[in-house]
């Protein structure tokens, strides 16, 4: 068990998402940076999909009520365990009573705390992810708060095994994943259904604009400012399914990228969709930061997942090997 000592707002329990329930109107939820969550789990020998805590407001503090192993992944930051430094992308052993204090990231938006055995809240519709709007999943369907006691499962490994090692984060380990020097995050997209309804000038503006992620952005979606994309004639789309990463253009002309907690349906024209291999990078983009869109082909979008999958596979193999030494 772990006890939450401080959690400002919007910190939730998440796994890799609730898949297969969109047809009941249930959005997927799930970690905004699924690579960081899966990596944290791999460090500990958990299933990739074990639930952890997604921390996006700080400072966050928790106390271990029992001996446990944990990992911190995601955004680059400083943390302490019983006042000693814990590095990001590192797994550690904690003794009962010790306090883990996590401070705001230097870079990136979200930190994932994973625990040996994963957070052991009940699965709802196949997932432990918190569905905030629906009020189910996670811990009673709500954000964490001070005083909460969160159950942790049994670690798949002996607690006297080797812990205390780390790995390179994916933006270092995967070629081309690092942020560009100009501090603009380049996000690869495919065109989506209504791209051709926009004039050539509007299409060009979409590609050339450096978009700012507005302060009105959250797990539901990123609102972008910096330009306006208008249609010559407005279109009324019938309500249809949407997925994480779809870039919609509402009548205001400022695009919205739907994220993990987006509604299952939308009706705005779709300009583009972020490729799967870049969703984790977008999940670490903080409000106020800048992004630009690059077009890729379908084949390149599919191929772009290989380095991500290789990274996770190598990480898991290395962690398993190290623990067995």
């Amino acid at each position: 068990m772990i006890e939450i000592l401080a959690s400002p707002a919007f910190n939730t329990i998440q796994d890799l998402g609730r898949h297969g329930a969109r047809r009941f109107g249930v959005s997927t939820s799930g970690a905004m940076d699924p690579v960081a969550l899966a990596a944290g789990n791999a460090l500990l020998g958990n299933d990739d999909n074990a639930a952890g805590i997604e921390i996006q407001t700080f400072p966050f503090r928790l106390r271990f009520q029992t001996d446990a192993v944990f990992a911190l992944t995601g955004a680059d930051h400083d943390s302490t365990l019983a006042a000693a430094t814990v590095r990001p992308w590192w797994c550690m052993q904690a003794k009962a009573g010790e306090v883990l204090a996590i401070t705001a990231p230097r870079r990136g938006a979200r930190i994932y705390a994973t625990f040996g055995g994963g957070i052991d809240v009940p699965r709802v519709l196949g997932s432990r992810s918190t569905h905030l709007r629906g009020g189910f999943g996670g811990l009673e369907g709500r954000t964490l708060q001070a005083g909460d006691v969160v159950p942790v499962g049994c670690s798949p490994h002996r607690s006297d095994g080797r812990f205390g090692f780390g790995v390179a984060p994916p933006d270092v380990a995967i070629a081309g994943a690092a942020p560009a020097d100009d501090r603009v995050l380049r996000i690869r997209v495919l065109r989506a259904g209504e791209y051709d309804l926009f004039s050539e000038a509007m299409q060009a503006a979409f590609w050339s604009t450096t978009w700012k992620i507005s302060a009105q952005s959250d797990r539901g979606g990123y609102r972008l400012t910096g330009g306006k994309l208008t249609l010559d004639a407005p279109v009324e789309m019938r309500s249809h399914g949407v997925v994480t990463g779809v870039v919609q253009v509402p009548p205001s002309g400022e695009p919205i990228i739907q994220m993990s907690d987006a509604n299952t349906a939308g009706g705005y024209p779709k300009m583009a969709a972020v490729i799967q291999a870049d969703l984790w990078r977008l999940g670490q983009a903080a409000p106020g930061s800048f992004i630009a869109f690059n077009e890729v082909s379908y084949q390149d979008a599919v191929a772009a997942m290989a380095p991500v999958n290789d990274y996770l596979a190598k990480l898991r193999a290395t962690a398993d090997l190290y623990r067995a030494l």
Binding site: G20, G25, L190, A192, G241, A273
Partner: protein, 231 residues
């Protein structure tokens, strides 16, 4: 059809084929051609039933005259997949609204049906007439989307159409019976809502712990019964 790329594979020009477009590598939207009607919607239901059994299709998500396919893995050959979709579309017979009949008792008007006077005003009818017309209709669940268990209901009498509000009501109660444009529905979450509340129903629309979490499913029929009138 379009597959979002200028040099997309050409699949054919069978008359009135669906529009097919990708949403990233893991989702594909299939939109029925033509106007919205229950025959086209019935084809969407039948198509969704059939296509959701295909390998790698994680889910077929029904919308209003469209269906989004969500894949486990990116399809290897988009052109071949699109051709199979077009072929299935032309082969599958339309499904009738043959689901269960759901009866929903409504407290019309009153504190939670606060938009009833505005709906009556716009329709040029009395509040009682609006209630009568709304409760005499039989509605079809076209799709379940947007919020957990929220059904898009078709079949509202045109006399009581009412545009959505430009400024949503901030905290509309779950269970509110609403009219939005040419549709009616029952709000499942207490949240901001741009539709017009004409009443309230004490019905569990969604239970996440149930194997079948949503009370309404596409193809179900809905009747609203007058439980009480508060004018």
């Amino acid at each position: 059809m379009s597959i979002n790329q200028p040099n997309a594979p050409f699949v054919g020009t069978i008359e009135k084929s669906p529009k097919i477009s990708l949403i990233g590598t893991l989702a594909m939207l299939v939109e029925a051609p033509g106007d919205f009607d229950l025959v086209q919607q019935g084809r969407i239901w039948a198509f969704a039933d059939a296509v959701s059994t295909w390998p790698d299709v994680q889910e077929a998500v029904i919308g209003v005259t469209n269906v989004m396919l969500v894949f486990e893995q990116p399809p290897a050959d988009i052109g071949m997949l699109s051709a199979s979709i077009v072929e299935l579309w032309h082969r599958v017979p339309s499904r009738k609204a043959d689901g269960k009949l759901i009866e929903i008792p409504v407290v019309y008007g009153g504190e939670l049906g606060f938009d009833l006077p505005a709906v009556a005003d716009r329709a040029g009818l009395s509040a009682r007439d609006v209630i009568r017309i709304h409760s005499e209709g039989e509605y079809t669940v076209c799709a379940v989307a947007s919020s957990p268990g929220f059904g898009y209901l078709h079949g509202l009498d045109p006399r009581i159409y009412m545009p959505r509000k430009s400024v949503p009501s901030l905290n509309m109660r779950a269970g509110s019976v609403t009219i939005g444009g040419m549709q009616t529905g029952v709000a499942v979450l207490t949240s901001p809502n741009g539709w017009n509340a004409i009443g309230w129903a004490s019905v569990a629309m969604f239970d996440p712990t149930s194997e079948q979490p949503s009370l309404m499913l596409p193809g179900d029929r809905v009747r609203f019964r007058i439980d009480r009138v508060e004018l």
